[in-house]
Amino acid sequence: MTAILARILARALSWLQHGAQMLQPAREKLTGTLQQSRGWLTERLPQRLPAWWPGPEAPPGVRRVVEVWHRGECWVAVAAFGFIAGIMLLDVIGRELLGPLLRFVGLNPGATGIFAAQKLSVFALVIGSFVGIGIATATGSHIAPRFAYGWVPASWGPFMDRLADVLTGLFLAAVAWYGFKFVGSSLKTDLRAPVLDWPVWPIQLSIPLGFLSAAGRYFFYAVWPALKPLPPEFQE
């Protein structure tokens, strides 16, 4: 059995060796072509950035705008998540503690929970979550699979980071566009929340606004990379 396995292994190895030998000329040719193209590009591209191109450091005014923007989003998120915590606590305390207590002393308090607490919490969650896209962008907390970062040469890193920021910004701006279209159709059809009977478009508006805020930030990072936060040590 061992001898057969060894023979199969040896045969497989010889095939692999043979395959590698066959591919060698093609590999050499491809490497040569890539080097030639790189040389051609290097000759034609300007070797220095134009004078009007902004440096990595952002002007103080821009930095201030970004900070105020971030602080505003933080307050909205804190209000939203604080609201969820508060209303859910009061609802549970009302239903599980106050209600039974009042019934125990012989009173009939009716419903002791908070009306539509869960629906209101879900709305707050939507607002908090989509404002949070901007906060996560500003604090570098977005989950990003990093295993493919090494698939391009390390020397391309700074260029790739800027390109990535432009692409992310464009992509999120496009998502925001579709978000606005969605909110528009809700507004047109006067879509209302069950239980509360409120129009839902003001809540839905947080979706495109959140994406737009994040897109704006990525554009800022592409222009002034020094504004970009360092990614956290861990992401979960």
Partner: protein
Amino acid sequence: MKAIGLIAVVLGSLVLRQPLLVVLLAVAGCVHAFWGRGNLEDIIEDMWVGLDKEVILSIPLFILCGAVMTRGSIAQRLIRILSAITKPLPGGMAVATILSCAVFAAISGSSIVTMLAIGTVMYPAMRQAGYDNKFSLGAIMSGGTLGIIIPPSIPMIIYGLVTETSVTDLFASGFGPGLLLTFVLSAYSIWFNRRMPTGRFDLGEFWIAFKEGIWAAMMPVILLGGIYSGYFTATEAAAVALAYSLVVEIFVHKELQAGDFYNVVLETSKLGGSLFPLIAVALSLNIILTEHRVPQSLVNFMQGYISSPLMFMVLVNLLLLIVGCLMTTGEAILVLAPLLAPLAESYGYNKVLFGLIMILNLEIGYLTPPVGLNLIVAMGAFKQSFGLLCRAAIPFIGIMLVCLVIVIWQPWIAMYLVTGKF
């Protein structure tokens, strides 16, 4: 051809360093454009519908609760009680570390929060008491992973959301494997430190620790008791846990000021901002995949090649162990659970059991390089080299693999509290 295009989009966006949010949105866009009606507004509508679920509210509440407890002294008080109890055992401090992680895991839903809350107190204490450095690090890192197995668990809630599985059942299924892991890790700690000196049980010391920590010790009792008795739903349990931790930290332990609450909520907002939009996109993707019967097609395709449920389980476990090395738990669940759960069901595995097995696999991923989050966080928190931490984790990974095999072999360990049957 369309499938190749989809793969190219995924690979291209990964090479172009796009966040997972963009990758998932791009995939959802491609699926709509290639196979659907091409109406991209539907993605936003599905995101809106996806977030409109009551159980999702438990995630920010548990994250808030974890943040409150990390700032307060609940962890230290639990450690003091358990250290007093385990003193007579060889390696008592190591056993106290594992038990503290297990008890803290019953309050917190996160691996990293558990590891940091216990580890920052126990690592220096263990080193001072002469415990082996590699062992101490391994015990703390592996103990931390109990945070996502012993309920409440944020990954379990995410799995429940994306696969439409009962979160209460998932929580119930985590209890048995959590106890098994706690027992086996504690037994290993005793065996490894069998030559360490032991102390005498001091009733006075225990009584003082108990008096100071009774409020902290009551928390898992209230939380788990409420969930398992059916008195609370997962969301209500999260609200109660938050209320309890706030009352205890502000009024009893007096460790939290009103001003700290802003920072606690801000931390939650940061985490929520990166997690909830992702969940919304994943749920939107899930809706379109289900509409186009992708999971069913995958089931038919797989059953053409693999007929044995055991073979399926072996392959899925290998896949999840590899994925656990490369992706974080949240990413892996959001991407893979909607596809793998229907497959597992078609091979006769209960969705709850499969979710638990998936999380057990991904729990090991917290200790495996290159994306082992507990390794990465421990590197900063305990100022140790990555290589040393990886070596320290090896025996514990082995133990966790054995426990995983035991749970697959004897599913009642997970399912007894769900079905009531052996």
